[in-house]
Amino acid sequence: MCSLNDFEMDGDSNKEMKKSNHKVLTESDLCRKCQINNAKFILRDKDFYCTQCFTVYFVHKFRSTIGKSREIKHGDKVLVAFSGGISSTCLLHLIRQGLDEPATKKLQFHPHVLFINESILNSQTSLAKIYEEIDKLNFPLSYTNLEEVLVEESKEISIKTVKSEKYLVEFQKYLHKFLWKLSENYSELLEVLRSSDLNKVDNISDESLGVSERSNELQHILSESLKNQTSREDFLRQLRYKLICRCAKQLGFQKVFLGCSGTELAIQILSNVALGRGSQIADFVQFKTNHFGVEVFLPMRETFEDEVKFFIESQNIFVPEEEEKLTPSNKPSIVSCTRAFIHNLQEEFFSTVPTVFRTGSKLVRGKEAENENEGLEGDVCSFCGLKRDTGKGGSSSALNSIKLSKKLTENQFMKGVIDNQDDFSDKENLIDDGESEVYNLFCYGCANLMQELDYQNSSSRVQHLLVTKKSEQQNLDIIQNYLLERGLNIP
């Protein structure tokens, strides 16, 4: 058969991928913009830019992403998640530079950095290093351990907050300005503040949070319960989102910044499709999304990897964690495979990343995929907290085909039932019985995870990760069943 699919040809296609130019910069090339300086960077595979013109362009792109959304208001407190990696390092520097601009151009929000210590995954980044960098940038920093995500929802997780000397000095000035009129002994007040809120630099170490039993449990889930690398990575990604949002809530932040570049988002878009999470693309690529009741923003979404790299290089910025930290092992996964695929394709066809990114930005969750009882909390996945895409969606669907395949592979012929073709609805009931309960609790992607995790029989810590909706009786009952089986009760 011809290698072209017939149905691809339903009408005319004018979509063709343009080959990359593979231009090479030489010493004598001038900047296209200013026509004065030597060009140092090739923008979008075609335009030669000097470092200064590039920086103007790059910073402008970042500022306009925030500006045009009108979502970040004057005086907003924003929690900026920092992984130590290249994009989030870049994000912090962009924010710092934005705050240092003269008043008319100054960024008008108050950033606070959050670092999740992942030493449990053998991450080499030391907290002290992270602190050093954040201190230089003069941001307040909070940090916590990844395994804290296993703490029961009803309890507080352990978060440490440090404020740099520089920050404190600034803070004192600030207080000075406003308090001297109000308080006779403000110096006393300052002393109190200093002693209560400041953790000295030498206090900062991985041990400061304490090694908890939770770290063993998380390690167990990651190395024993989850057998394949794809599930581990997907699980970790969900955990990071969960923990960041939880920290934000606990620290009193309504807004969170994540430093994902457009390139990273393109990889996420395609990975999400491959993971069966196509319906959630919008939840991970739009500028503003909502996770666990927290507003998550992606201010770097319009930048590309090569631009971020060049910005970091040209400004001599130190990146604490050069390697993209993702997982505890190097086995291939859906995401690593997708990353390699996108990178290779990008080499050959320059428009790959921009096209995938643009496509992803136009997609939302389909109506058919949702459950009929829209608006109820039962529609929400108990793990990732996003809307479930495991509604009926008409009787012919990939989900139903999987359910049927499982039935037919596990049971004897079932001839008697299936033979009766006129009463087809009966057969659907047959397909849709108990075992598909996992799809009543979780979204499709999380159901893949949970089946592997054997969530019904795994440790109570995994249960803590699940969102229980007290107001939604049906959902509660389902969970209750599992919990009762193991002699536990919902509070």
């Binding site: 058969m1 011809c2 290698s3 072209l4 699919n5 017939d6 149905f7 691809e8 040809m9 339903d10 009408g11 005319d12 296609s13 004018n14 979509k15 063709e16 991928m17 394949n228 690398q229 999400n272 499709v273 491959a274 993971l275 069966g276 999470r277 196509g278 319906s279 291939p332 859906i334 495979c337 997708t338 695929f341 290779n344 066809f349 096209t355 995938v356 496509t359 930005s361 136009k362 997609l363 939302v364 389909g366 109506k367 058919e368 012919s396 669907s397 990939a398 139903n400 085909s401 999987i402 395949s405 037919l408 592979t409 596990e410 049971n411 012929f413 299936i418 073709q421 499709y444 893949n448």
Partner: protein
């Protein structure tokens, strides 16, 4: 050590199902495979009793298994369908000869009548003659475009109610990925639907939508079905090749990936307010097209007028020709762009006008703006 069949039938398993990971014996596999397709047909209401259904038959594994299954399920469950095998003869020496022999044997083996239609009959051109004209580089464009319409035209001739094609889950997952990579959101939305829905057109459906390619191969192997293994002998589309390789990698890492991609495709929608090109019909031949004139008609025009490359690639040749001569000669007459105007621009425009069957304002045509407009139009018409 032999595995037992996971249905507890007591027999030894002969294979592991890629879709579920369960191990099955031969009989249980046959049963599961057939039942799943039956369920797909039933739950999507693909047919009505008495329908006259054309099975697109290429002699390859997908369409051979499809023909076998359609016959089997039609008999087993009394669908009440009248079946016909529809084959297209592109006229590729050494390619179709053998595969058509296979289809002819299938006609006898399954007792389904066969109708063969040739490109020569439908378009006046065989693929071999097209290759002579344009070389091997772009002929998959031709064979793909022509094949699609060939089926539709054939189906119209036979006056069937439905066409079934052997597209399997891998094909569909691959198309989902392709459309994301190319940013073709209109097709992305269409490509996961199990049948085409256009009132005045014969609908096409894909009973293998949820069937893994590997299982089709296994089924054909264990049933000892007679099919012809071949790839299109002309160079495949490089870009699709990348998508295919990627999907295979995904499947190796996580076998459910194929069905997961299809689920993703099914649960996606396009954000409100995003403009989609309306799908209309070709003003010449009446087939589905997003342009005024469909691809097949443009390609045919090119072939018949000795400009066979028209409609392939970005028409850069056509565009370059226009541009180069534009700069060589005198000033642009009508606009203030100070660009040069080419000799004989009117006649060239007239050619294009005839070729593309579009109206070009000859009076205003001596301006660059107009040339650009026409060039853009040509680009729109090509890939």
């Amino acid at each position: 050590m032999p595995f037992l069949c996971s249905t507890n039938c007591g027999k030894n398993a002969v294979l592991k199902r890629p879709k579920t990971g369960g191990a099955l014996c031969k009989e249980c596999f046959f049963w599961a495979f057939e039942e799943e397709i039956h369920c797909t047909i039933k739950s999507a209401s693909l047919f009505s009793k008495g329908d006259y259904v054309a099975i697109a038959a290429s002699g390859g594994k997908d369409s051979t298994v499809l023909a076998y299954i359609m016959k089997l399920l039609n008999d087993r469950y009394n669908y009440g369908l009248k079946l016909v095998l529809l084959s297209i003869d592109e006229g590729i020496t050494g390619y179709r000869d053998d595969s058509l022999e296979t289809v002819k044997r299938n006609e006898v083996q399954y007792g389904i009548p066969l109708k063969i239609l040739s490109y020569d009959e439908l378009y006046g051109w065989t693929m071999d003659r097209i290759v002579e004209k344009i070389g091997r580089k772009n002929n998959c464009t031709f064979c793909g475009v022509f094949r699609r319409q060939a089926l539709d035209r054939g189906a119209e001739l036979l006056k069937v109610d439905k066409i079934v094609t052997g597209h399997n889950a891998d094909d569909i997952a691959e198309t989902v990925i392709m459309n994301i990579l190319r940013g073709d959101i209109a097709r992305l939305q269409r490509c996961t639907s199990i049948q085409t829905s256009s009132e005045d057109k014969i609908s096409r459906c894909k009973p293998f939508k949820y069937t893994y390619e590997k299982e089709i191969v296994m089924y054909a192997y264990f049933k000892k079905l007679d099919y012809f293994t071949t790839e299109c002998i002309y160079s495949p589309n490089a870009y699709r090749g990348h998508a295919r390789a990627y999907l295979k990698d995904l499947e190796r890492i996580r076998p459910s990936a194929i069905i997961d991609v299809i689920h993703s495709g099914e649960s996606l929608a396009i954000r409100d307010g995003i403009h989609l090109p309306a799908q209309t019909t070709c003003s010449r031949c009446g087939h589905v097209s997003s342009q005024e004139i469909c691809k097949a008609c443009v390609l045919l025009e090119g072939l018949n007028n000795g400009i066979p490359k028209l409609g392939i690639g970005k028409s850069s040749k056509v565009k370059e020709k226009l541009k180069v001569s534009k700069e060589k000669n005198g000033n642009c007459a009508n606009c203030s762009c100070s660009k040069k105007e080419e000799n004989g621009i009117s006649s060239r425009l007239k050619d294009i006008e005839e070729l593309l069957n579009i109206e070009v304002d000859i009076n205003g045509s001596k301006s660059c703006r107009n040339i650009n407009k026409v060039t853009r139009r040509i680009e729109d018409l090509s890939f």
